[in-house]
């Protein structure tokens, strides 16, 4: 029990003192999470809307594929991307392996099915009369989508939260693609794993607490935004 209490004390001291290494890791994690969530939702939300509202040949298969991708193991995604981005791989020329960009690519691939599948479900749950009403009142395709999205705003906010949660807590792809390089690709999750294995429980705990604070802050921000949206 003592080592737990000691761990908490050290974690608080690191956080309060603003340890530059801790803050650097937190900043990088936030940067990767924001960029990856933005890209994943930027593609996934319109894709989800498309899957939910359009009738086309193969739609059911596409929905099944997206739903299946939800359960994709992160290490497998990491492994596949490692193969693509390694020097001998087809995308080796980019020189992205062991960079934060590689982690973003992995995170986007993991968050994209979440954004697409959950937003498709969110849009499908909107009363179909909303879409018909917007169309019959003369809204074009984009304004119709916007009107439907406004009705599904709570569910879509949850989609963004879920995508962010996936990205910020991801470790498998981050470890394989980023390499956990100090000051370069070390994220909160990979750092927690490393420092725990090295026996620096206090530092690991401090980083773990930061991870929870970031997740909490994002959730609270989204809830506040939803509250301002009104009914």
């Amino acid at each position: 029990m003592d080592f737990l209490a000691e761990g908490f004390r050290r974690a608080l001291a690191l956080l309060i003192s603003g340890d530059p290494e801790v803050l650097g890791i937190a900043f990088l994690t936030l940067k990767i999470a924001v960029v990856a969530t933005t890209i994943a939702c930027g593609i996934g939300l319109p894709l989800g809307y498309f899957l939910a509202t359009r009738r086309f040949w193969g739609r059911r298969a596409a929905l099944t594929a997206v739903n299946t991708a939800l359960a994709f193991p992160t290490v497998v995604v990491g492994l596949l991307l490692y193969g693509l981005l390694s020097r001998r791989g087809p995308l080796g020329g980019l020189g992205w392996l062991y960079t934060w960009q590689a982690i973003v690519v992995g995170d986007v691939l993991l968050a994209l099915p979440i954004a697409a599948a959950l937003s498709a479900a969110a849009v499908q749950s909107v009363d179909p009369r909303v879409r018909r009403t917007a169309v019959t009142l003369g809204a074009d395709r984009w304004l119709t989508a916007w009107t439907v999205a406004r009705e599904a705003r709570f569910a879509l906010a949850a989609v963004i939260t879920a995508a962010f949660g996936q990205v910020v807590a991801e470790i498998g792809a981050a470890m394989m693609l980023g390499g956990n390089i100090r000051g370069s690709t070390r994220t909160l999750t990979t750092a927690v794993a490393l420092y725990t294995s090295q026996g620096d429980f206090g530092l690991a705990l401090a980083l773990g607490l930061l991870l929870i604070v970031i997740a909490l802050a994002v959730n609270v921000t989204l809830q506040v935004l939803q509250g301002k949206g009104g009914g």
Binding site: A134, T136, A139
Partner: protein, 335 residues
């Protein structure tokens, strides 16, 4: 203005609409009547360009409508659904929605929306949101919202289904007022014949997705019992109607109003259906063309008979008067 030619529309392979020809002319006030499930709402969705017919052609001002109609064309027609929904935001925002999506400034859209609200008696509701409105109020807002965009064709699906009599009258008066100031076509789908007769210039009946060959009154969905005899008795409300047919099972019966004899006393005749009741309403029969009089009586169910003005005078027909309706079993159409 809008025309359907040889249209067959299916949902999951099931034929729901089968129209050789259906047209809504410019400035028309048309009512489509029929039972629930007759195809009225589907017809309106096709006319509203929300769906393309599975087969057949749709024309707008004699020009074929492509399967994905251009936005400019879509904006000339608006549908108010049977159970309309208000979008997120206040009543004022809803009334201005169609104008805002057309690029009108917020100030101009608000001004227009306020004018329409006044026309429909909605001014006190402008700040309210959808959960603060009754079903009847939602329906009125939806009609006003549709009118605000000044469509060339306004389609209303059971526009007064949630309204009381006074609200229904107010809605139709506001519509008439709008039509007087700017000509546009109105097509109303209703199962309330009274509404149709009161407000429409032209009435079409739909039954099982097809235009009914008889006038739209006296349509009943019934279950014909099995039996070998040619004359069967169908239970309609509180009465039995004798009908000559080989058909059994679910059918629609139509009693042509012009085939009903109206008398004050039962007459000795070959008619198998002799029904006594009281007159509930007397009105000019607008779709008969020849200036007939529509006599509605409650004979266990509401039936409409059409007589000449002379016959109405001779019988001194008046509301609440006892009356006998007689018609032959072979006069009843089955489809």
């Amino acid at each position: 203005m809008v025309e359907l030619r040889g249209v067959r529309h299916r949902y999951d392979g099931r034929l729901v609409l089968d129209l050789d020809h259906f047209a809504v002319s410019a400035g028309a006030l048309l009512a489509v009547v029929g039972h629930n499930g007759a195809g009225k709402s589907t017809l309106l969705r096709l006319l509203a360009l929300l769906e393309a017919p599975t087969e057949g052609q749709m024309l707008w001002e004699n020009t074929p409508v492509p399967r994905r109609p251009p936005l400019a064309l879509r904006r000339r027609v608006t549908l108010v659904e049977q159970r309309p929904i208000l979008l997120r935001g206040s009543v004022l925002e809803n009334l201005g929605f169609g104008l805002r999506v057309r690029g009108m400034s917020r100030a101009a859209a608000t001004k227009e929306a306020e004018a329409v609200a006044e026309q429909f008696g909605l001014t006190p509701l402008l700040a309210r949101r959808r959960h603060e409105l009754s079903d009847g109020e939602v329906q009125r807002v939806a009609v006003a919202r549709a009118l605000a965009v000044r469509p060339d064709v306004l389609l209303l699906d059971e526009p007064t289904s949630s309204a009381d009599r006074a609200a229904s009258g107010a809605l139709y008066r506001a519509l008439a007022q709008a039509q007087a100031s700017r000509p546009f076509a109105v097509c109303i789908a209703s199962h309330q014949l009274e509404d149709a007769y009161r407000w429409a210039d032209d009435i079409r009946a739909l039954a099982e997705g097809r235009l009914s060959p008889v006038t739209p009154e006296n349509l009943f969905r019934v279950e014909l019992p099995p039996g070998s005899g040619a004359t069967k008795h169908a239970r309609v409300g509180a009465i039995d109607i004798a009908v000559t047919t080989d058909r059994t099972g679910p059918v629609v019966l139509a009693v042509p109003p012009t085939d009903i004899f109206v008398s004050r006393e039962p007459l000795p005749s070959s008619a198998r259906n002799v029904l006594t009741g009281r007159v509930t309403r007397i009105a000019a029969h607008r779709s008969s063309g020849g200036g007939g009089v529509a006599v509605t009586a409650d004979v266990g169910v509401e039936l409409v008979a059409v007589v000449t003005p002379e016959a109405a005078r001779e019988l001194a027909l008046a509301p609440d008067m006892p009356v006998v309706f007689s018609f032959k079993a072979s006069a009843v159409r089955v489809f």
